[in-house]
Amino acid sequence: MKKVYERNNIAFDMPSPYCPGCGHGVIHRLVIDAIKEAGQEDNTIFMAPVGCSILAYTYLDLDICQPAHGRTPAAATGIKRALPDSLVVLYQGDGDLAAIGTAEIIHAANRGENITAIFVNNAIYGMTGGQMAPTTLKGQKATTCPFGRSPEDGQGYPIRVCELLQSLGGVTYAARTSVHTAPNVLKTKKAIQTGIENQMEKKGFSIIEILSACPVNWGLSPQKSNEFIANEMIGYFPLGDFKKDGKIIQRSDH
């Protein structure tokens, strides 16, 4: 029998540092698979800011930069402008990108920085124990919206990042995928590869938003968490390409 699938050794030989069933584990693998297949291991600078992504520091055998919370796109801009031929991959959570770092992601995108942003949308602050995130759904419970997020009570609406960024001229590619089923994991890998190819071909800013499970803070089993994505999240966060080669493809304004 021939080995048809094996572990990617860009990850050190250790259990992944993430909770059982966490989407980060899958997405990390997809990112390092895309990096390996593009032969970019020596050229990649992985940006893991603040949030669960910090766990990458001891898990991934890559050059890694830890920027301040939310400032990943700014630090990435500094790196990419200083080293234009490096492959700069941003790995951000919903707090980092869509809360404290909203200005930075919008302006890096608008400048068309030639970088690839992996945006893990799990609708919660994971590392700090389950607070409401900018993408927490209406009615979804979190420690800071214990009765369910209520836009009517000033807790705001879940932010659709792809739709927010697609209008910016500097954005070449914006897609939303998910990792809640195997076919979707494969689609996510393809989207990440597109984002990396865009960067290598100097086509400008790419962002791949990935719906991902956080079983521990959602208080659901891994299976139920993936069902939550299917039944609750995708309705509000439709999957697909929002911008490709600089052209807007779909909008979701309901």
């Binding site: 020596d42 520091y57 890694i64 930069c65 920027p67 301040a68 500094g78 790196i79 402008r81």
Partner: protein, 351 residues
């Protein structure tokens, strides 16, 4: 010897940075330092460097953080409120052991304040405006020439210690024009290959980071930082002692107020009064021993600041009661007048 030029302080600082090999500058508009980003936008880019007007001072300092990760010489500049926004970034630069040069052309505060000169950012600069135990060398130039020289030196000091360095000027220094001659860059080379990110061929991965959740690790990093800070304090002190040997009253002042005090020293010397000036060129490290040494003989020290009095605390710590300390301060953009200083000085000498 380069040729003599007449230049604005802000532009001299910008040109000096480019000549020192700075390749990445990230800024944001705020008076009274706007000539620096404008100069970079024109002169840095045509000489192959990178200029970005960032979306905020916070983004700018974090762009510096990123560029520094690659070993590039990077700089940002701003003025008081903008420097407040950069404090977290400065703490991160120290924590991640990254070299960078930051320029503060200070203005009146607190709050939005005004665009007049001020020295009320002293505490922020030397006592650490950000979080955690950290220090950085802080230069306080008095002239456009010195501002250019210290900016060039700042890049060597930043690289040598892998730590940010601050140039602390004010609106007058930034806006006035004075003749200067740019010195040749030191040509010092710094091998950064053991820690920089990118082009990983043939080496193990590098991690640039200031976080560790493992017990005792961040404490250990702090003890290593302390060794570095002690070295910086020992080696990077710069102070000018002017006519202090026989002085009955010694002024202590830096930057713009040192210029004012220097002319008061000239006037009073002509009238037979023995006055002198100690001028910190680095306010961190602070010339504590220099001042303490003179306190054995000279019994009056006269601190003049454009603030409600901040450096005076470090002067007190140096003198520890061995001499009397007098103060004249003008906050909120006010500029000390020689006449007011003279009046107060005469009162001191009569008592």
């Amino acid at each position: 010897m380069g040729e003599k030029q007449l230049m604005k302080g802000n532009e001299a600082i910008a040109e000096a940075a480019i000549r020192a090999g700075m390749t990445c500058y990230f800024g944001y508009p705020i008076t009274p330092q706007n000539e620096i980003p404008a100069y970079m936008a024109k002169h840095l880019t045509i000489r192959g460097g990178t200029f970005i007007q960032a979306e905020s001072e916070i983004a700018a300092i974090n762009m510096v953080y990123g560029a520094a990760c690659t070993g590039a010489r990077a700089m940002t500049s701003s003025s008081s409120p903008g420097i407040s926004l950069k404090q977290e970034g400065i703490s991160y630069l120290v924590g991640a052991r990254l070299p960078a040069v930051i320029v503060n052309i200070a203005r009146g505060g607190p709050g939005l304040g005004n665009i007049a000169p001020s020295q009320a950012d002293y505490f922020q600069a030397v006592k650490g405006g950000g979080h955690g135990d950290y220090h950085m060398v802080v230069y306080t130039p008095e002239t456009v020439q010195e501002a250019a020289d210290l900016t060039m030196k700042a890049f060597d000091v930043a690289d040598e210690y892998r730590n940010p360095v601050l140039i602390l000027g004010d609106a007058i220094l930034g806006q006035m024009m004075e003749p200067l001659v740019f010195k040749e860059p030191s040509g010092k080379k710094f091998d950064k290959s053991s820690w920089t990110l990118g082009n990983r061929k043939g080496r193990k991965s590098h991690l640039i980071n200031s976080l560790s959740l493992t017990e005792g690790v961040v404490e250990q990093w702090n003890w290593e930082l302390k060794k570095k800070f002690d070295l910086m304090a020992e080696r990077e002190l710069m102070v000018e002692e002017y006519m202090v040997e026989d002085a009955d009253v010694i002024f202590v002042a830096y930057g713009t107020t040192a210029r004012i005090c220097r002319s008061v020293v000239h006037q009073t010397r002509k009238q037979g009064m023995k006055t002198g000036l100690i001028r910190p060129i680095t306010v961190w490290p602070f010339p504590t021993e220099t001042i303490a040494g003179h306190a054995e003989k000279t019994k009056h020290f006269f601190v003049v600041e454009m603030s409600l009095g901040q450096m005076i605390e470090d002067v007190r710590l140096a003198i520890l009661g061995n001499a009397k300390i007098h103060f004249h301060g003008r906050p909120g953009g006010g500029i000390p007048a020689e006449a007011d200083i003279l009046k107060q000085l005469k009162a001191i000498l009569q008592s």
